[in-house]
Amino acid sequence: MTGNFQKWKKIIIFLVLFCLLLIAGSLPFYSLRSMGYQFVSIGQKDRMIKKEKDNSLDALFFGDSQCLTAFAPVKLFGEYGITSYNCGTEGEWIGDTYILMQKALEKQNPSMIVLETSALYSKPSKIKYYLSQRLPIFHYHDFYQSPKKKIGDEAAKGSNMITRVIPYQGDDSKMSEEEPADEISSVNIDYLNKIYQLCQEKNIILMLATALSMIDWTNGKHKAVEEWSNANNVTYVDYNESDNLKQINFDWSFDTRDGGVHVNVFGAKKLTLDIGKRMLELYPFVDHRDDENYADWEYLYTKDDYYQ
């Protein structure tokens, strides 16, 4: 019995010591929290943006996969001569958007930032986030890892453009459903305010946009974002609204890549064409199309029929 008691005691001491080692082992990882929660994709996108010439971008697009797939910077250049970069990453959380924005603004001085709003409604799981902040050894253990998949294409200036067509086959009445505002969580609102603050400090015009998504976006979310944008005098365009849909001539049977969740390149071209017009209404961007310094942009736009 005493022997067994001693053995159990040893197991408990082993576990206590393990906890202490875990806390001590976490110490070197605390500083890595500044890399963002989704540090792999954020880091990868940061490296992509840093490859662009310093202060060469007029506008930046931020957000999650909706942003990544909806806005085509090369098309924007071809149509309006505006240089931009799509900084969206898959499943991005607004907290990480703020970190990536700070990193991007280290070397770029854009006149406008377009924030796609879906990232306002994503959030890491509470337990995982808490653990990542308190015991970062688990979350950041392989900060050196090689990215397992590409997040956007450098030749497409960060965006993810594909031609695949998988039509949306449901009804299109979702946005007309009356529902109360789907409040943005207080944590995410804090980050949205920080982004707003950052833009004001850097004298950047902030614009909110919601790309087309028949599956993820609702009228309740629209209302909540609209309330915030009205209160802060920030321009907001929601392409899920029927008027906007008609205006850009969006075709649910052809312009989506995955049954209505994300747009394909055909949908992205329509959205980009429209948002470019709206951007020009907010700021008089210089047209770089005849500028020799931007010949590489011209080349990307004209090299094949992709963006025509």
Binding site: N4, K7, W8, K10, I11, F14, L17, F18, L21, L22, G25, Y37, Q38, F39, V40, S41, I137, F138, H139, H141, D142, Y144, Q145, S146, P147, K148
Partner: protein
């Protein structure tokens, strides 16, 4: 939601909770805690499909009771007739078990194959398959057969049989256990002792080390090569090697976790691997790899087919006509064909798996005819059959047999496998493959870390192969040294394991078979 064995949800929450509940229960009800845990675990994975397991177990239970009651021929009944009747009941019960498996797992395969043959179109049916069906079906068959052959007594309590057929540590990937080996410990309600707890968790840690550091890191590289780089012969060869390492580390690691989990409850689960890459040939390899599947096929297919009346008759006829050597090989050759077709089909409803079985059948037959002449040849040339030259030759031969086998096994279709295989010989671009390799999902640091972990596993395997008493020596180490080893392993998993942001969860590979 699922609870894979390699998730913290399993080894840090589910398992300790079950262990605590088990321990506080009176000894005679502890097996019931395990059964509740089994069904809970099964339900989390397969929801209502749990009913398939319940129904199969119940059917097996009833048949086993019937077979058990037929111990002696009633007076006035011919013994032969009685034996035949018993045999028919056994065959019926086995066929019913196989029918459930066939309908759930092979309907689409059979439908599409038949339609392909006759030129029609087949619309695949959406059939949900419960976890572990390939494993528990074989366990039910072995149980029925053993009861029929009076090797074991039929279990009187349905719930106890249910515990055996749904045991949560083995339900996902095996090992395919035998009721006779498991029953005593499974129902004994042994108390959890500090020795069993620490030895169990040590084994789990070792399994996690193999799976999370080696197998799961290699997974994206292997997937990338098999889907996007089948034109580069060099990469195809590397892909085949990596695929073999991944499969072994994944499967053996998961089995370590299963065995460790059983150990915590004082239940000894049969080993499923015995250093397979030290085997002397393909036959020996399969006696060391997925051992419990091999022994199942040996006991329930190979022996019954070899000893069946038609095979015995043909052998006798050949003997009588003077073809003594042919007679000697006929029985094993026929029985092995059934074994390897079954092996291929068991892995899943794809022709690549069937061909994988045929591939090994070819090598088994080849070895059957060449092993003796080879040994004689070695003798004539004064080569020690256990010397390093012969062992090296055997290792290289087996290495290529196994990696090419895994290449066809992993390829999406036979055509893809053949393309990769032929590119190794006609399009081998070593420089190109070295430049592409660091861009397939692992950078040089990750390759270095995986290599180091692999070396650790090899060292342990060599020691085990040489029968070095690793466990006993480890137990004799001073506490500080033992803890240092354990902490090193745990922190190696925490620091270098493939989990967290950037990684897609890698499914346990054999759970899909």
């Amino acid at each position: 939601m699922t609870i894979p064995y390699n998730s913290p949800l399993f080894f840090a929450i589910f398992l300790p909770s079950v262990a605590i509940l088990y321990q506080i229960m009176p000894k005679k009800y502890r097996w019931a805690v395990l059964l509740v845990a089994d069904y809970g675990f099964f339900f989390v994975w397969s929801k209502i499909l749990l009913l398939y397991n319940v129904a199969t177990t119940f059917m097996t239970y009833l048949f086993a009771r019937k077979l058990s009651s037929m111990k002696k021929a009633p007076e006035g009944t011919d013994r032969k007739v009685f034996k035949k009747r018993k045999h028919r009941i056994l065959v019926l019960s086995v066929l019913l078990n196989l029918a459930v498996l066939a309908v759930l797992k092979y309907t689409n395969f059979i439908g599409s194959s038949v339609m392909e043959l006759f030129g029609g179109t087949f619309t695949a049916l959406k059939i949900a398959v419960p976890i572990g069906i390939s494993y528990y079906t074989l366990q039910c068959i072995s149980y029925l057969s053993d009861v029929s052959n009076k090797k074991i007594e039929a279990e009187n309590n349905y719930f106890k049989l249910a515990l055996y057929t749904s045991f949560f540590p083995t339900i996902l990937e095996g090992p395919i256990t035998r009721f006779g080996d498991m029953a005593e410990n499974l129902f004994a309600g042994h108390s959890i002792t500090p020795e069993n707890l620490s030895q169990g968790y040590e084994r789990i840690i070792w399994g996690l080390f193999k799976k999370m550091i080696i197998a799961d890191h290699l997974a994206p590289v292997v997937t990338s090569i098999f889907t996007k780089h089948t034109d580069n012969g060099g990469l195809c060869l590397i892909g085949a090697v990596f695929c073999t390492i991944q499969l072994y580390m994944d499967f053996a690691g998961t089995i370590d976790i299963a065995i460790g989990t059983g150990k915590i409850f004082g239940i000894t689960i049969t080993e499923n691997f015995r250093q397979p890459f030290f085997a002397k040939n393909a036959g020996d390899f399969w006696r060391r790899w997925h051992i419990t599947l091999g022994t199942f096929f040996r006991d329930y297919i190979f022996y019954p087919v070899s000893l069946s009346r038609p095979v015995q008759n043909w052998t006798r006829k050949l003997n009588a006509s003077g073809h003594k050597s042919a007679a000697r090989y006929l029985g094993p050759a026929i029985a092995l064909l059934f074994v390897w077709l079954a092996n291929g089909f068991w892995h899943g409803p794809y022709w690549t798996y069937v061909l994988y079985g045929v591939y090994y059948y070819f090598f088994m037959i080849f070895e059957m005819f060449t092993e003796k002449p080879f040994e004689a040849w070695c003798g004539r040339h004064h080569l020690d059959i256990n010397g390093w030259q012969v062992r090296t030759f055997r290792f290289i031969k087996l290495f290529f047999i196994v990696i090419f086998g895994e290449m066809f096994f992993r390829a999406a279709t036979f055509a893809d496998g053949w393309k990769m295989f032929s590119n190794i010989f006609v399009n081998f671009n070593w420089k190109g493959c070295i430049s592409i390799l660091p861009n397939l999902g692992m950078n040089k640091w990750e390759y270095l870390m995986v290599s180091m972990a692999f070396v650790v596993v090899i060292i342990i395997s060599v020691l085990k192969e040489k029968h070095y008493p690793i466990r006993a020596k480890f137990e004799k180490l001073p506490t500080a040294a033992r803890w240092a080893v354990l902490y090193s392993l745990i922190f190696a998993i925490i620091l270098f394991g493939a989990y967290g942001p950037g990684y897609d969860a890698v499914a346990m590979m054999y759970a899909g078979f």
